[in-house]
């Protein structure tokens, strides 16, 4: 198959698999929602406090739910050694990664579509007319996070403590994305368009750099 074909095939397979077990996506959504909720109990629900904790709560829940998800979505390939089945196929390893990456991105975005309104309501987050710009930032950050997450899920799968190692490796390296998300959102709330563009630029550069590196390095990780 030429071009992105194999990646699309894998993406479609992942979507179909995910739809078959909606209960797991629902579980992730509930978990993420709980994280958002718990952050509210951290301080007093005064408007000032809420405005401060809100973005953190939202992004933290995305981070944690994502970590759960990446491990789960890759674990599907571990069962019945399906990953070997993929390695047997005449597909370049880069396309295998692209397919998994796309799937993780879409699932995470679906989760965020639920989380953002919930967090916005609970924390009275108000971006005025800038929700479109925030959506752009959200998508860019999610793409980068999904790249790292999918990649490190594969790395962690090669260890005997995969559930420990995925967050340990993933979180420190995702700090720039977390910062970009929070700062970018706050810049929008404060009307600081220049700052927003800076953070969006950082996230974009991050995506391009690590998207490329992870795609190229995926083969090294999953092959014996």
């Amino acid at each position: 198959m030429s071009g992105l074909g194999p990646a699309v095939v894998i993406f479609a397979k992942d979507v179909r698999l995910e739809l078959r077990r909606v209960e797991s996506l629902a579980t992730m959504a509930v978990f993420a929602g709980l994280v958002v909720l718990i952050f509210a109990f951290v301080g007093d629900p005064t408007p000032a406090e809420l405005a401060r904790t809100g973005p953190g709560a939202l992004w933290a829940s995305i981070l944690f739910a994502g970590a759960l998800g990446f491990e789960r979505w890759f674990a599907e390939e571990e069962r019945n050694a399906a990953l070997d089945g993929l390695l047997l196929a005449p597909v370049d390893r880069e396309f295998l990664f692209l397919g998994k990456w796309a799937g993780a991105t879409v699932f995470l975005l679906a989760l965020e579509a639920l989380l953002v309104p919930v967090a916005a309501t609970l924390y009275r987050l108000d971006l005025g007319g800038a929700w479109g710009a925030f959506a752009v930032l959200l998508v860019v950050v999610t793409i980068g996070y999904a790249a790292l997450g999918t990649f490190f899920a594969a790395v962690a799968a090669r260890t005997t403590a995969s559930q420990l190692l995925l967050p340990v490796l993933l979180f420190p390296l995702s700090v720039p994305l977390l910062r970009a998300g929070i700062e970018g959102g706050q810049a929008l709330a404060a009307g600081a368009g220049g700052d927003y563009r800076d953070w969006l630029g950082l996230a974009l550069a991050f995506d391009v750099l690590f998207g490329t590196v992870c795609t190229m390095a995926f083969g090294t990780v999953i092959e014996e």
């Binding site: 260890t159 950082l202 090294t220």
Partner: protein
């Protein structure tokens, strides 16, 4: 590397061997030199360099803290280069090099954090402030930790060196970006207590600069010595294991000269 001229490729393929043996031979000299400069540094710090006006005695931690930080980050550069070389050349030496550099880098990062905390306590009354550099160093500590945990928990039978190499490369590429984002963060929302970790205001007086540079050199020598020592240990251990495996397999003793294993 098919396009390299034969002679070049030969040089490359034996470069790690020659480098290794050279460093092992030079090791004791570096060791003694390191001890000497360390003693000298000690002398300078406690008997020569003047006491800093505002901070007083605790300021002297600066002469340990800054070199530690420098080496913590430089060490990661070693991991980066060794990782690339391992992926490219597939020579065991580079994998060992990367792992040992990570171990020692982890050590120096811990030292940086601890000295930073010990310094902060008497000066600002708090063990920790979210200064940009300290924060990035803390994240670096976690990245090192994750790298070492990855090697520790790898499934037996897989070539963890290649996976670790990739993680090392990604980590190294990310550190400047992490630092940038943390720096932007801390300048956008500065903490009420402003950190003056190294510069009391204006440039560093000459005596302090000299002491710092001497300390830096001595720490670097210690680093290099530790690195060679560790690499040598690990390389020897691996060779022993290989020998043991080979002997097990044949079930006989050491082969006679000229006899095939």
């Amino acid at each position: 590397m098919r396009w390299f001229p034969r002679s070049w490729r030969q040089l490359w393929s034996t470069l790690d061997g020659r480098l290794y043996h050279f460093l092992v031979d030079v090791r004791p000299w570096i060791g003694w030199f390191a001890v000497g400069t360390m003693v000298f540094t000690f002398g300078l710090v406690f008997w020569w360099v003047p006491l800093e006006a505002i901070q007083g005695y605790p300021q002297k931690i600066f002469y340990i803290h800054v070199p530690s930080a420098w080496l913590a980050y430089a060490s990661f550069a070693f991991v980066f280069v060794a990782s690339i070389l391992y992926l490219w050349q597939r020579s065991r030496l580079w994998d060992i090099f990367a792992r040992c550099a990570a171990e020692i880098g982890f050590l120096f990062t811990t030292l940086t954090l601890v000295t930073g905390m010990l310094w902060g306590r008497p000066i600002w009354g708090a063990f920790w402030t979210w200064d940009a550099r300290l924060t990035t160093t803390l994240i670096l500590w976690f990245i090192y930790g994750g790298y070492l945990l990855l090697r520790a928990f790898a499934r037996p039978g897989i070539d963890v060196g290649r996976i670790a190499a990739v993680v090392g490369i990604i980590g190294f590429l990310d550190v400047p970006i992490i630092h940038m984002s943390v720096l932007w963060w801390r300048t956008l929302h500065p903490a009420p207590v402003v950190m003056i970790l190294d510069d009391p205001g204006g440039g560093l007086p000459a005596s302090m600069l000299v002491t710092l540079l001497v300390s830096l050199s001595s720490f670097t020598l210690v680093f290099v010595y530790l690195l060679i020592q560790r690499v040598w240990q690990e390389r020897t251990a691996e060779n022993m294991d290989l020998l043991e495996t080979l002997l097990d397999r044949t079930g006989r003793g050491m082969p006679a000269k000229g006899e095939a294993l």
